[in-house]
Amino acid sequence: MKARVTVTLKNGVLDPQGKAIEGALKSLGIEGVESVRQGKVFEIELSAGDRVKAEAALKAAADKLLANTVVENYRVEVLS
């Protein structure tokens, strides 16, 4: 079973890396870029076949390690 956890910075949290990327995109002449926020994607293989259990496990993983919920949000998706 494949899953994905996406971790992004909360709104209002300073993202200097995103700012730097935004600046680089602008200097490359890529038009229409209003702002960039950088995040992380975790692609996770799970052994169990139970969707509900898988989601619970991924949520625990995100809460305990993958995201720092002081400054980050996360989204859990079971893909197949």
Partner: protein
């Protein structure tokens, strides 16, 4: 004083801090491996040293904060034992939720390695009784992620409870954005836990203890700890 310095893969200041402890207390510190589950018996000070534990993978301090030894460190803190986290150690304490908030990328995006000025905000803590409130210390920093951030409510609580021990200031001891080199909220350089027994700070007091190599403003922190523990 019976100190335990925790060694994580990628720590690199454990020798510096152990040497500062030996110099000031006369007693050698135990170096404790991160995969151990217990601290040496009668440990009264735990130090999480600076460095780049786990190569700063995921987030600075994130993996180290979940290492087996951290359960023992947490129990020690809950008993009221002293826990000192320096630089990466501060990041680990925040990730372990032994201290609130998070250390984000420096606002200028650059790794900063230089001497800074710190103001001591209070002297009635186990870490600062050999200083006076208002003292300005010259202490080195070396970090890329030292920009202390927390939600407004946490900042208000920290400030209200007097839990900010050190702030980045000008050489005259004044708050000035120019001297807040990493952009930290309220120029916060070091904070205490609610019971004042856990301290996390970004600067490296252990590097300014030897007159042979320069200023010795960091000595007071280790002398304070030693005084408290020897009196106990």
């Amino acid at each position: 004083m019976k100190a335990a310095v925790v060694l994580f893969p990628g720590s690199n200041r454990e020798g510096d801090v152990a040497s500062a402890i030996k110099r000031i207390s006369g007693k050698a510190a135990n170096i404790v491996w991160h995969a151990d589950s217990e601290l040496p018996a009668n440990t009264d000070l735990v130090v999480l040293p600076g460095g780049f534990s786990y190569g700063d993978y995921l987030r600075c301090g994130a993996i180290a904060a979940r290492a087996p030894i951290m359960n023992a460190v947490r129990a020690h803190a809950e008993r009221g034992g002293l826990v000192l986290g320096i630089c990466n150690g501060f990041q680990i304490l925040c990730e372990a939720q032994l201290l609130p908030g998070v250390l984000q990328r420096n606002a200028q995006l650059r790794f900063m390695c230089r001497e800074v000025y710190l103001r001591v905000e209070r002297s009635d803590t186990p870490y600062s009784r050999r200083y006076n409130a208002g003292d300005v210390l010259k202490i080195p920093v070396a970090h890329g992620e030292g920009n202390y951030t927390a939600d407004d409510e946490t900042i208000k609580r920290l400030e209200g409870d007097g839990r900010v021990l050190f702030r980045y200031v000008s050489p005259e001891g004044k708050l000035d954005p120019k001297w807040n080199h990493n952009g930290a909220t309220n120029a916060i350089a070091g904070i205490l836990s609610e019971k004042l027994n856990v301290l996390g700070l970004m600067p490296h007091p252990e590097n300014h203890v030897d007159p042979m190599i320069g200023p010795t403003d960091g000595r007071g922190l280790f002398e304070s700890i030693n005084t408290v523990l020897e009196a106990a």
